[in-house]
C-alpha cells in the first residue's frame, strides 16, 4: 500500500511538538544548546522525509 508512506509524516509532529523531549542544554553543537540545534535539525529531517514520501507516493503522470 503506497499511501502508507504518508504515515512517516507523523514523525516531525512527534519530534517537534513535545518540548519536554528537547528542552535542555546538552549536548551542545558548535556552542549551541540542544534545544536550538535539535529543532533546526528537524527542519532538515522533515525536508528529507517529505522528499522521500513525495517520491514513494508519486503517481504515474505526475510531472
Amino acid at each position: 500500500m503506497r499511501r502508507g508512506w504518508y504515515l512517516l509524516l507523523i514523525l516531525p509532529f512527534a519530534g517537534t511538538l513535545i518540548p519536554p523531549l528537547y528542552n535542555r542544554a546538552s549536548p551542545t553543537l558548535f556552542g549551541m544548546p540542544f534545544f536550538y540545534w535539535y529543532q533546526l535539525a528537524w527542519v532538515l529531517v522533515t525536508a528529507a522525509l517529505l522528499g522521500l514520501v513525495v517520491e514513494l507516493t508519486r503517481k504515474d503522470g505526475d510531472v
Binding site: 504518508y6 509524516l9 516531525p12 509532529f13 517537534t16 511538538l17 513535545i18 518540548p19 519536554p20 528542552n23 535542555r24 542544554a25 551542545t28 558548535f30 556552542g31 549551541m32 544548546p33 534545544f35 536550538y36 529543532q39 533546526l40 528537524w42 527542519v43 532538515l44 522533515t46 525536508a47 522525509l49 517529505l50 522528499g51 514520501v53 513525495v54 508519486r58 505526475d62 510531472v63
Partner: protein
C-alpha cells in the same frame, strides 16, 4: 545620502521596473482573471519555489521572529517547529486542493466552498474572513519596511512615511499592471538578497560576538535580569503554549489567501508536492535569523521597539554598502508578499462577492480585482498612518485566529461532505466570537489561559477557537441531520479530487 540608502533606493527602483516588465512575461492576455491573478497557472517548480518562499516568509517574519526571541527568549523560537510541521500539512492539503481547483477553475478557497456546499452565505463568510485576515498582514509588511526606513537619519521615524508611501504606490501600480507575474519575478531578487544577507549575518555576527557558546551564555544571564525576566529554555508551564502556537500557526499558514494564490499558480500537482519538500530550506533560514535575536541581546543592543534589532545589527556589523543590500532584502521582502496578499484578497472579493452579479469569469471581473488591489493597498497604507504599531500587531494575531476558522469548511471539506453548511456557518461564527472574546480577555496576547478542574492551560487562541468551531459544527450537523434539515447540493465529484 549614505551608500546604504543609495543601494536601497536603487534596488527598489530596479524591482519596480521588473514589476512592470513582468506584464510581458509569457505574452498572456491579462484581462483574463486566471492570467492576471494566477499567472496563467503556469509556474514550474523553480518559479513556484521562489514565489512561495518569497510570499510565505515575509519581511515581518524576518523582522518579528528575531524581535520575539530578543524579547521573550525560547518561547519566540516556536516559529521553527511551526515552519517545520507546516510542510507535511501542506503536502497533504494543498496537493488535493490544487487538483480540484484546477479541474473546476477555482481562484480562491471560497470558490471551492461554494461548489462543495452550495451555500452562498458560507461562501461569503469564507471570503470575508480571508479579506479581513489579509489586511493587518499587509499592514505588517509596511511595519517591516518602516523599521528599515527609520534607520536612516535623514528620514527618521516620521520621515519614513513618505518613503513608505512611494514604495507602496509603486507596488500598487505594477501589481495592477502585471498581476501575480510581478511578485513572481521580483521574488527571484528578494530571495537571492535574503539568502545572501542572512548567510552573511550568521557567518559574520556570531564570530564577532565571540561564538555561539558565548552568545547563549550572555543571553541567558541578561534575559534573567530583565524587568520581565525571560530564559533561553522553556518553563514547564510554557510547553503547552509553545506546542499549540507552533501547531496552530502551521494549520493556518496555507489557508491564507496569499498562500492559496501562489499555490494555485503552480503548473501541476507535482510542482506543489515537490515544493513541500524544497521549501523547508527557507525554514532553516528563518531559524538562523531567529538566533540573531540572541546576537542582539549579547551585543548589548537595547531598544524600545524590538522590531529594529535586525536592522540595527546590520548597521553595526556590516560595512555601509552591505547594510544597504541587507536593508534592500528586507524592503523587497515586504513588497513581494504585500503584492500577493493584495491580489489574494482582491480575488476573494471579485470572485466570491462581486461574482454574484456576473456568473461567468469575465474581463469585468478582472478589472474589479485589479481596482480592488489598489484599494486594498491604499487601505493598508492608511492603516499604518492611523493605527499605532502595537495595535497593528494585535490585529495580525487576531487575524490569524480568524483565518483558522475557515479550516473545517475548507480543509475538512476537501475530504468529507459530512458537515452541513449551516452547521459550518454556525461553527465559524462561534469560533470567531470565541477567538475575539479570548483575545480581548487576554489583552490581545496570542495566548489564553483556560482554567478548569483546578488546573490551568495557556494555549494559542486560534487553536482554542478552532476547537469551539469544530464542536459547534459537529453538534449542529448532528442536530440538523436528526431533524432532516439543511440538505444542499455538492457540485464537486469524487473524480475532481483525484
Amino acid at each position: 545620502m549614505s551608500s546604504s540608502a543609495a543601494i536601497l533606493a536603487i534596488a527598489v527602483l530596479a524591482v519596480t521596473a521588473m514589476g512592470f516588465f513582468a506584464a510581458r512575461w509569457g505574452g498572456a492576455n491579462l484581462d483574463n482573471l486566471e492570467q492576471w491573478a494566477l499567472g496563467g497557472r503556469s509556474f514550474g517548480t523553480i518559479v513556484s519555489w521562489f514565489l512561495l518562499g518569497g510570499d510565505l516568509y515575509t519581511a515581518y517574519t524576518f523582522i518579528a521572529v528575531p524581535a520575539l526571541v530578543y524579547g521573550i527568549g525560547a518561547l519566540g523560537f516556536f516559529a521553527v517547529p511551526y515552519a517545520t510541521v507546516a510542510y507535511p500539512i501542506a503536502l497533504i492539503v494543498l496537493a488535493r486542493f490544487w487538483n480540484v481547483a484546477r479541474r473546476r477553475g477555482y481562484v480562491t478557497t471560497a470558490d471551492f466552498v461554494r461548489d462543495r456546499y452550495g451555500d452562498r452565505t458560507l461562501e461569503v463568510a469564507i471570503a470575508a474572513t480571508g479579506v479581513v485576515a489579509a489586511m493587518p498582514y499587509i499592514a505588517l509588511q509596511l511595519i517591516g519596511m518602516r523599521a528599515v526606513f527609520a534607520q536612516f537619519g535623514t528620514l527618521g521615524a516620521g520621515g519614513s512615511l513618505p518613503a513608505l508611501t512611494v514604495a507602496f504606490v509603486l507596488l500598487g501600480a505594477y501589481t495592477y499592471t502585471s498581476g501575480l507575474r510581478a511578485p513572481a519575478m521580483i521574488a527571484f531578487v528578494k530571495d537571492t538578497l535574503i539568502y545572501v544577507a542572512v548567510i552573511a549575518a550568521v557567518v559574520v555576527i556570531p564570530a564577532r560576538l565571540g561564538g555561539w557558546a558565548h552568545i547563549f551564555a550572555v543571553s541567558q544571564a541578561r534575559l534573567a535580569q530583565r524587568l520581565h525576566p525571560a530564559a533561553i529554555y522553556l518553563l514547564p508551564s510554557q510547553y503547552f503554549t509553545y506546542a499549540t502556537m507552533a501547531f496552530g500557526s502551521a494549520l493556518s499558514l496555507f489557508i491564507y489567501p496569499h498562500a492559496i494564490t501562489s499555490v494555485l499558480a503552480a503548473r501541476s500537482r507535482a510542482v506543489i508536492r515537490r515544493n513541500a519538500a524544497l521549501l523547508p530550506v527557507y525554514s532553516l533560514l528563518l531559524g538562523l535569523l531567529a538566533l540573531l535575536g540572541y546576537c542582539a541581546v549579547a551585543a548589548g543592543i537595547a531598544v524600545k521597539d524590538a522590531n529594529s534589532v535586525v536592522p540595527l545589527l546590520f548597521v553595526r556589523y556590516f560595512p555601509d554598502w552591505f547594510a544597504g543590500v541587507a536593508d534592500a532584502a528586507v524592503v523587497i521582502g515586504a513588497l513581494v508578499p504585500a503584492a500577493v496578499m493584495c491580489i489574494g484578497a482582491a480575488n476573494l472579493f471579485a470572485s466570491n462577492v462581486f461574482r454574484e452579479f456576473c456568473p461567468e469569469r469575465s474581463a469585468v471581473e478582472t478589472l474589479v480585482a485589479k481596482l480592488l488591489t489598489l484599494a486594498i493597498a491604499g487601505f493598508a497604507l492608511l492603516f499604518i498612518f492611523f493605527v499605532p504599531v502595537p495595535y497593528a500587531i494585535d490585529f495580525q494575531l487576531l487575524g490569524g485566529a480568524l483565518m483558522l476558522q475557515i479550516f473545517p469548511a475548507f480543509v475538512l471539506g476537501l475530504w468529507t461532505r459530512w458537515f452541513q453548511p449551516k452547521a459550518l456557518l454556525l461553527g465559524w461564527a462561534c469560533g470567531l466570537a470565541a477567538s475575539c472574546a479570548m483575545a480581548y480577555a487576554s489583552g490581545f496576547a496570542p495566548n489564553y489561559t483556560v482554567r478548569a478542574f483546578g488546573g490551568s492551560l495557556t494555549g494559542f487562541i486560534a487553536l482554542y477557537g478552532l476547537i469551539v468551531n469544530l464542536l459547534v459544527s459537529t453538534f449542529a450537523t448532528l442536530l440538523l441531520r436528526a431533524l432532516r434539515l439543511g440538505a444542499s447540493i455538492d457540485s464537486t465529484t469524487a473524480g475532481d479530487f483525484a
